[in-house]
């Protein structure tokens, strides 16, 4: 029920945005993330973006996993 999925922001109009999720486009609300901009990935929950995905942190986390995988070999 607290499911949220990553969506790519394609267009921003006032408090709404057009996003793409796996090739499908949708209109969503930016009431909760007014700072979202084109090119951001947001976490989409019941029609609202609830947070903006930090892409640097995502890469950092994946690098950490790679390092762990190397270390335990």
């Amino acid at each position: 029920m607290c499911l949220a999925i990553p969506a790519l922001v394609k267009k921003v109009e006032d408090k709404e945005a057009e996003v793409e999720i796996g090739g499908i486009s949708r209109r969503i609300s930016l009431w909760l993330t007014p700072e979202a901009k084109v090119g951001d990935y947001v976490l989409l929950h019941t029609g609202y973006a609830i947070s903006i995905i930090d892409q640097d942190e995502a890469e950092e986390t994946l690098r950490l996993f790679e390092q762990i995988a190397k270390e335990v070999k």
């Binding site: 029920m1 607290c2 949220a4 993330t33 942190e57 995502a58 996993f65 335990v72």
Partner: protein
Amino acid sequence: MRFVVEFRDGELAEGLITSIRRTSKRKVRFMEFCGGHTVSIFKYGIRQILPPTIEMVSGPGCPVCVTATADIDKAIALALIPGVIVTTFGDMLKVPGSRSSLQKARAGGADVRTVYSTLDALKIATENPDKTVVFVGVGFETTAPTVAASVLQASEQNIRNYMVLSLHKVCPPAIRSILDAGEVKLNGLICPGHVSAITGSNAWEFVACGYGIPCVVSGFEPLDILQCVEMLVNQVEKRESKVEIAYRRGVTPEGNLQALKIMEQVFEPCAAKWRGMGEIPNSGLRLRREFTQYDAEAAFEIKTEPAVEPKGCLCGEVLRGVKTPLDCRLFRKVCTPENPVGPCMVSSEGNCSAYYLYGDNGGR
């Protein structure tokens, strides 16, 4: 899909699993609070992958499951009032109330519609100016801000026939209640990911500091959960208890301030009844007085008979992590997703439904 597939990589998972196996020495029990985590853990067979030192128990983090029978009855009673259209999320439809369900009410002629978003409910309200559209709001901190935003939107756009029955709940008081009851001893808490996207990971400081229990906020992909378990194990072995985030791409310590502000503006805390846990102070959200005109409880005199709990159903114990669905005599025999006796079997994130669907991956 970006930020999804990368976090399902098998080789990286191997690395994390090996690291967990090497580090984990002490026998521990971790609880995943959130139903979304329960589903991921079962789906990816994570319980089996973990070393025998680690026991996992599922918590009450499914908003549909913890909704009290009396509140379901209220939603059904609302649906039966002429001129009312009840809108809600899909999972609520089949949840058995004392005598009926929203689905049965609909079959009997009530206007009950499932929506994906409150935005759809607002649209139904504008399209049906002569009806009152009530959104039955269930959900935790992830969802409550979206419902708060819908109320502000209704007010901004002067939509007067939109209302909310607020059955929202907030998570920290429920976790406190479980810890205070002491029925399950926990050595670590897998904190909800999207609740924390709103509240911030700081919301769990009281668990780490006050109860000395390690806390790690997790995402929902298998690598997220493995990283979370790895971090919990590390804390346990170092005898630390702090709040960490294994979902840094989505969660910060402070959370979403805008969402918190909107939620605060529209709702205020109140006592709420949780299935299996009784009434917990300050664990619910009701509309503030300024927004009374959007409050379905204020607008309608909702009359219900005393609630009757489903007979033989152990949802309460299951939600508290004291029992598993396998302890329930009705599980699989009488109670199935097609014919659910309790809400934990109805909801796609309910513990009983997870055991039913992914049984072979389930309780060891």
